[in-house]
Symmetry: C2
Subunit: 309 residues, 2 copies
Amino acid sequence: MKSEEHCGGFEEWARERARHFEWYAETSMPPAGREPKRLVGSMRYAVLGGGKRLRPLLCYAAGETTGADGDLLDRAALALEMIHSYSLVHDDMPAMDNDTLRRGRPTVHVRYGEALAMLAGDALQSQAFCALAESNADPARIVRLTALLARAAGPAGMCGGQALDLALVGRTCGEEELARMQSMKTGALILASLLMGAQAGRWEALGARAQSGFVVYGRALGLAFQVVDDILDCTQDTATLGKTAGKDEKDEKPTWVSILGLDGARTRARALHDEALEALGWIESDEAASAAGAARLRALADFVIGRSY
Amino acid sequence: MKSEEHCGGFEEWARERARHFEWYAETSMPPAGREPKRLVGSMRYAVLGGGKRLRPLLCYAAGETTGADGDLLDRAALALEMIHSYSLVHDDMPAMDNDTLRRGRPTVHVRYGEALAMLAGDALQSQAFCALAESNADPARIVRLTALLARAAGPAGMCGGQALDLALVGRTCGEEELARMQSMKTGALILASLLMGAQAGRWEALGARAQSGFVVYGRALGLAFQVVDDILDCTQDTATLGKTAGKDEKDEKPTWVSILGLDGARTRARALHDEALEALGWIESDEAASAAGAARLRALADFVIGRSY
C-alpha cells in the first residue's frame, strides 16, 4: 500500500467532495431555463435537492484508491447519483410507495405532477449513460463503467430488487429473502459506486485479493446501509430523516427490525461493519492501492454503519 | 456506390430481418422464468409483443449500407427497440396517455399493474445500454453508439418531446411547434436508428455529403412517420391499428390533420417523402456506400410514407 499521501480529516474531505460534486452536477446538468423547461426543472429538482451523496462519496474514495482520473470519476459519480435520484422519483410515485416528502421537500410528483415525474426519472436515466458516453477517457474504460452501471440498475440489480420488494408487501419473509431483495434494490448500486470508482483508475494494477476486497466491502456496506436505514426508520422522527418516518411498518414491509428486533438489527449492523473492515484490510495490504483512498473507505464504513449502534 | 451486391426483394428482406430480430431479442433478453419472474415477464411482454420493428429495420438497412458487423448491429437494433418499447409502456400509463390497448393486446400496466409497468420500463432502459456495453466490438464504436442512443432518449430527444407533448394538450399550436415536438418525441430515435446502424459500420469511409444524407433522410423520415401516424389515427379503425383509433382527437392533441386537414397532411407526407429520397441520393452517389443497403432505405421510405397517400 502506498502511504506517502496526506490523508487529511474525513469530515473535511467529505465536505469538500460533496461541495465539488454539487458544483459538478449543477454545471453539468442541462441548465435551468433550457427547453423543455418543466422537464429540465424537474430533473434538476430531483438531483440537486441535496441528500447524503453517499454514492458519489464512495465512488470518489474508491477512485482515490486507484488513482482515477478526475473527469471520468466526476462523470461516474454524477451518473450514479442520477440513477439513484431517478429511482427515488419513480419509487415515491403513487403507483409505488406514494411518498410525499423526500430530503425535507415535496417529492417530484407532488411538485410537478405524475406525468412529469415519470418523464424526469426516465430522462435522468438516459442522462446518466450520456454522462459516461460523452467522456474523453479511454473508450474501453468507459464501456466497462457503462456495463457496471447498466447491470446494477437493471433487472438483476436495482429494478429487480424493487420488483421483489413489491412482491414482499404484506407477507412474511425470512432473513435470506430480505437480504437478497435488498442486495439488489440498494446493494447493487452501492457496489457499483465502488467498482466504477476503482475501475476509473488503475484497477488492473491491483492484485486479485484487493479486487475482491472491493466486492466484499461493497456488499457488506450495501447490506449494512439498509439495516441501518431500517433501524433509523423506526427510531428517528420525520424531521430528522427528511422523509416520512415509520413508513415501513405502516406499509407492512418486512424490515431488519421486524425480523430481528431492534437489538438484533444492531448486532447485524455491527457484524457487517466488521466484515467491511476486514475486506478493506485486503485492499490496504496491496502495494498498488493508495493509503489515502483506503482511509476514506474506512471512514465511510464508520459513517454509514457506525451511526446506528 | 458499390453495386455488386444482390439487392433482393424488400418484402423478403424485411420479413427475414424481422424474423432474425425476433429470434435475437427472444434469446438475448432475460429468459422467461428467471427471477424476478413478473418483472422479467413484463419486460418480455413489452418487447416481444410484435410491432412493426421499424427502428431495427432502419438500423439494419443503414448498417448494411456501411458494412456493419452483425453482432454490434443486432445489439444496436435491440437497444433501440428496448428504448422504444419502454417509452410505449410508460406512455400508455394512466398518468400519461392512459391507453389500454397496444399491438392488439392489453397494455403492460393493464396486464401487470402500474408499479410493475413503471419498473419494466425502467429496467428496459437499463438493459438497452447493457446490450451495447456488453458487446465485444471496438470500444470506441460502442461509446459512439451509446452516446447517440442516450442523447436520442433523453431530455433533448424522446423524453423532452414527450414533455413538450404534455404541454400542448388542449391548446392550439402551430406547425413549427408541432414539428419541433415530434422531431424530439419520435424523430430523435428514428434518426438514431439510422446513425447507430451506419456508425456500427465503416462510417468514416463515407464522404461528408453521404454522412449528412443519413441525417437529412432520418429527419424527413421521422417527421413523415408522425404525419402518417396522424393520418392513420383518423382514417383507420382500432382493429387495423392494434391500438385505440381516434385517440388524438378525443385527447384534444394537436395533430397534422387538425392543423393542415387530411389533404394537407397527405401533401406534407409526399413532400417529406421527396426530401428523404433526395437525401438518399447523396448516400447512393458515395462510392463507399453499399447499393443493397441504400435500396433497403429507399424501400423503407416508401413503406413508412407511401402507405398514407
